[in-house]
């Protein structure tokens, strides 16, 4: 036990001073990843807000503003005329929508441009309101109540809570994956790195068991991964809360999330991360250099992303076998728990799968670490 603690202390000092490790497990997850997410989302966010407040420019084709349209001018619309119905006018930003008139008002919009689309929606809503106001005025003249317009009223009542958004699930999945990939730098440094720097032979000759050394290294890796994912979670939360309040409502449905089972969620995240730490340890112990270890890591990172893609494709009906597939089972189980569904049977399967995974890969890693071939490989 004392041996493990001194190994952890040493690995910790060594890792915290490694620029690559700091970059991978702190800078990337806390600053760079949220930024990747913030930029495109804030762009959309801004556009949505803009259309709500800004003046919509309507391009009129072969028509003059009629009396109806003129009343729109004080509803934040402006009119200009265009000589053809062409999407280029919208693309260039000169107009938001184009209007022409036969027996209808024809509203032309660019479905690929969110601004144009929102302008069209606002315009049709305003036309509706306009019609209603006219009708109300007429009814009033003949002394009838405007209630006659809405002779049938509707009220929308959801039968169940809105499901958790798949975007939110993806975010959690990426959170786990990124932190595993981030902390892989720690274990690579602690195994292949020691070999490369010619300190591994010294370390294993010290009076401390190989088990203790290996456990110390894995614990350090896990701590880095866990802290890194926690910081990343905080960074994303801050990003959503303060910079994208709009998006956090429309993309995450945060109101529908329940944190009743947060302790179980944390347990699943810990097990998932530990399993992958074991797998990475097994691979990087064998590698003779950091470069070689990184090469082994690449397919693993891909393997981690596969279930996420899979989830996106078959999110509707997943059978119970998914609980046997590592990573995929974490994502599904966390999702279930977040919407407040708890199934002890499925949870048990998930936990057992990970315990077996951790056991097998720890044994495998230890065997490598005890073989002189793997240790002296250079």
């Amino acid at each position: 036990m004392k041996g493990i603690i001194s190994i952890i202390k040493k690995e910790f000092l060594n890792s915290i001073r490694d620029k690559r490790i700091l970059y991978m497990s702190i800078i990337l997850p806390v600053f760079i990843y949220p930024l990747f997410l913030l930029l495109p989302l804030s762009f959309t966010n801004e556009k949505i807000n803009n259309v709500k407040e800004k003046k919509i420019i309507v391009g009129l084709f072969k028509m003059e503003p009629d009396s109806a349209l003129k009343t729109f001018e004080n509803k934040n619309y402006a009119f200009s005329s265009v000589d053809s119905v062409n999407v280029e006018f919208i693309k260039s930003g000169n107009v938001d929508i184009i209007l022409s008139k036969d027996s209808f008002y024809n509203v032309f919009y660019d479905p690929e441009d969110i601004g144009s689309q929102l302008a069209m929606e606002r315009f049709s809503k305003d036309v509706e309101t306009f019609n209603k106001e006219i009708l109300e005025g007429m009814l009033k003249k003949v002394g009838l109540s405007s209630d006659w317009i809405n002779s049938v009223n509707i009220k929308k009542i959801p039968l169940k809570k809105k499901n958790i958004s798949s975007f939110y699930i993806m975010l959690i999945a990426f959170l786990i994956m990124w932190s595993v990939i981030g902390s892989s730098a720690v274990i690579i440094e602690a195994t292949a790195g020691e070999k490369e720097r010619k300190t591994l032979e010294y370390l294993i000759a010290l009076p401390v068991s190989r088990e203790s050394i290996l456990i110390g290294k894995i614990i350090t890796t896990f701590i880095f991964g866990f802290v890194s994912s926690f910081l990343m979670f905080l960074a994303f939360s801050v990003a959503f809360k303060f910079f994208l309040p709009q998006a956090s409502k429309s993309l995450l449905y945060l109101n529908s999330v329940s944190f009743k089972y947060v302790h179980i969620i944390v347990l699943i995240i810990i097990l998932t991360m530990l399993s992958f730490d074991m797998l990475l340890t097994t691979l990087s112990i064998f590698a003779k250099s950091i470069r070689e270890a990184q090469m082994y890591m690449m397919p693993i990172s891909f393997l981690l992303i596969l279930p996420i893609i899979f989830m996106q494709m078959f999110s509707k009906d997943l059978d119970s076998w998914v609980y046997f597939v590592p990573v995929l089972n974490s994502i599904v189980e966390i999702k279930e728990l977040l919407i407040g569904r708890f199934d002890s049977h499925n949870l048990l399967v998930v936990i057992l799968v990970y315990v077996a995974f951790i056991y097998i890969f720890f044994k495998r890693a230890l065997r490598s670490f005890k073989s002189e071939k793997a240790v002296l490989r250079s």
Partner: protein
């Protein structure tokens, strides 16, 4: 006394060690002398449990010594060939890690580190080891081996690539350790170092022990010790 009996090791079909037997005595410096590729490093690796020998037994006095057993290994400290320090840690941190492994008490460890740094003229700075000069690194590597004050000290070419003043300091420290009753084994292929330091000599070549005896017995083989060595290793 640390005794090796019938040690053999093959890598593939290369027999690197063939029935090697010798011992290192308390209060003596034993030179482990042999040309390149003779099997010195392999012997030391087997002794420290880094590799597993094919045959062979070890004894500490009369009790069997099993390198895989961590508690038994606590009696041996060592300097490995081409050993490196943890470059991102400073000198003190490198030392303190070793102190923790041997479970030295904190105040004791600090005192010993200070003493060794003084003795070996290592600056007690806060800079990471990667900024140390080569000689300073080599002294720190030796200090790391002396810190736990083990009964047995095994050094694989501790003086390679070091300037004369530094060599002088290290030699003096080793002599002092020997006089405190330690059994020191010291691998080298440089004859002057043997004459300067050793009381016992073991010569190994092609994985076989070719000579074991006192320095005087070694000298009596020939007037010129270089000729004596050449005759033993061919």
């Amino acid at each position: 006394m640390l005794r090796i009996e019938g040690l053999s090791k093959a890598f593939g079909n290369a027999n690197v060690l063939k029935n090697v037997s010798f011992s290192m005595k308390d209060g003596r410096i034993t030179a482990f002398l042999g040309p390149n590729g003779a099997g010195k490093t392999t012997t030391i690796r087997a002794l420290l449990g880094i590799i597993r020998p094919d045959t062979g037994k070890f004894y500490m006095d009369t009790t069997p010594y099993i390198p895989e057993q961590v508690n038994m290994r606590k009696n041996i400290s060592f300097v490995l060939e081409n050993a490196s320090l943890y470059e991102r840690l400073n000198g003190y941190e490198n030392m303190y890690f070793v102190a923790q492994i041997w479970q030295l008490e904190k105040s004791m460890a600090e005192e010993r580190i200070k003493k060794l740094f003084n003795e070996l003229e290592i600056d007690y700075g806060k800079k990471p080891v990667k900024l140390y000069s080569k000689g300073m690194k080599q002294k720190l590597i030796l200090a790391r081996a002396l810190l736990p004050s083990c009964r047995y000290l095994i050094l694989d070419e501790p003086l390679s690539g070091i300037d004369i003043p530094t060599k002088h300091i290290i030699r003096e420290v080793l002599k002092k350790e020997k006089n405190n009753g330690k059994a020191i084994m010291y691998s080298t292929h440089i004859l002057e170092e043997v004459e300067e330091l050793a009381q016992e000599v073991i010569v190994i070549a092609h994985g076989e022990i070719r000579f074991k005896g006192s320095i005087n017995e070694f000298r009596s083989i020939d007037n010129d010790i270089e000729t004596a060595f050449m005759r033993l290793v061919v």
